[in-house]
Symmetry: C2
Subunit: 178 residues, 2 copies
DNA sequence: TAGATTGTTAATCGATTAACAATC
DNA sequence: TAGATTGTTAATCGATTAACAATC
């Protein structure tokens, strides 16, 4: 279904070890669990979310942090209109409380749902508090300015442009449209 | 800055043609425009968004469709609580109007911000209306059931798990944590 | 002409695929 | 023993890198 060959699956699994039994097959349940362990999905690492605008709220509401290796323990914003709101079971805290909160709960990871204008300073604040793993929704490239960060970027604009390219390849612009 | 080599850039550009002048260089502004043309970023293809829940509203509000090759011309939902709301400059329409609207405006692309339970039937409805290009935020794999679709998937869960894996590689679980 | 930079071909590297041994 | 399926090595393929010719 995923368009992978049997060879490729065997090769990929063998990067991490042997999980099957020759002549018999794989124990699917056990393999599934092993892969989860390799990915660290059972770690429940404390994580904070910065920026509770439309995007941040959506992420906080929709994502299943618990089954992805994380536990969302705090949501922060600097707008008086948003601070105090409850999202899921968390009350949005004032960004000014970030230092105290991080010292108390020592998260190592953060979701960045902030405008790129404040991305640098926010990242710097977090790094000083020991947070160096980022799920980055901002348009700012953290890895340029910070050493030793672990970043996973989500740039939805790139994704939409990729779709545009695929469509443009399959159905090219006609001369009239130019 | 993007960690690409000069060789790689030249090779990649030459997949589409020669845009520079030997001995002189590239005209950056012209090259930028050419790349946009290749990606079809100036097409303003009509696009509808299906599902105006948290995620759908966020996408509709945040994304710059116009500079990515699309024009968002309609937002649809089936909840009476959401239909009638205004997002940006669009009023959310009842999903029942989808057929009439598509016949009138003939969009070819759609954003799917719907639960996976209704993803199949919604896709089928859209395909019958001539919409076969999808920006898919649902957990459902369209390409399995539909031939000739162009799909760009956004699976945020995968992205978060990728971050988990990277962290788990860099900072492995200790035995105590197991 | 010398220096610089692109276009293009060749060499290298890594990933995918195929083949086969090992094992149930 | 025969069939099936994994683990692992070898062959193939494609992408990245390097080299060099072309051109300003």
């Amino acid at each position: 279904m995923m368009q992978l060959t049997a060879s490729q699956i065997r090769q990929d699994l063998n990067c991490f070890g042997g999980f099957g039994q020759q002549g018999y097959g794989y124990n699917v349940a056990a393999l599934h669990k092993e892969i989860g362990n390799i990915m660290g999905l059972d770690r429940h690492m404390p994580m904070v979310l910065i920026g509770a605008g439309n995007l941040g709220r959506t992420i906080a509401r929709h994502m299943d942090f618990d089954s992805s290796g994380f536990r969302l323990i705090g949501i922060f914003d600097n707008s008086v209109h948003i601070v105090g709101q409850t999202i899921r079971d968390l009350v949005v805290r004032d960004a000014a409380e970030l230092e105290d909160f991080c010292r108390a709960h020592t998260p190592r990871a953060a979701v960045l749902c902030i405008p790129k204008e404040v991305a640098f300073e926010t990242t710097q604040r977090l790094m000083e508090l020991g947070v160096n793993c980022f799920w980055n929704f901002s348009h700012y490239d953290l890895s340029l300015d910070f050493e030793g960060v672990i970043v996973e970027n989500v740039h939805l604009g790139d994704s939409l442009m990729t779709l545009s390219y695929q469509i443009n390849e399959a159905y090219p612009k006609t001369e009239n449209q130019k």
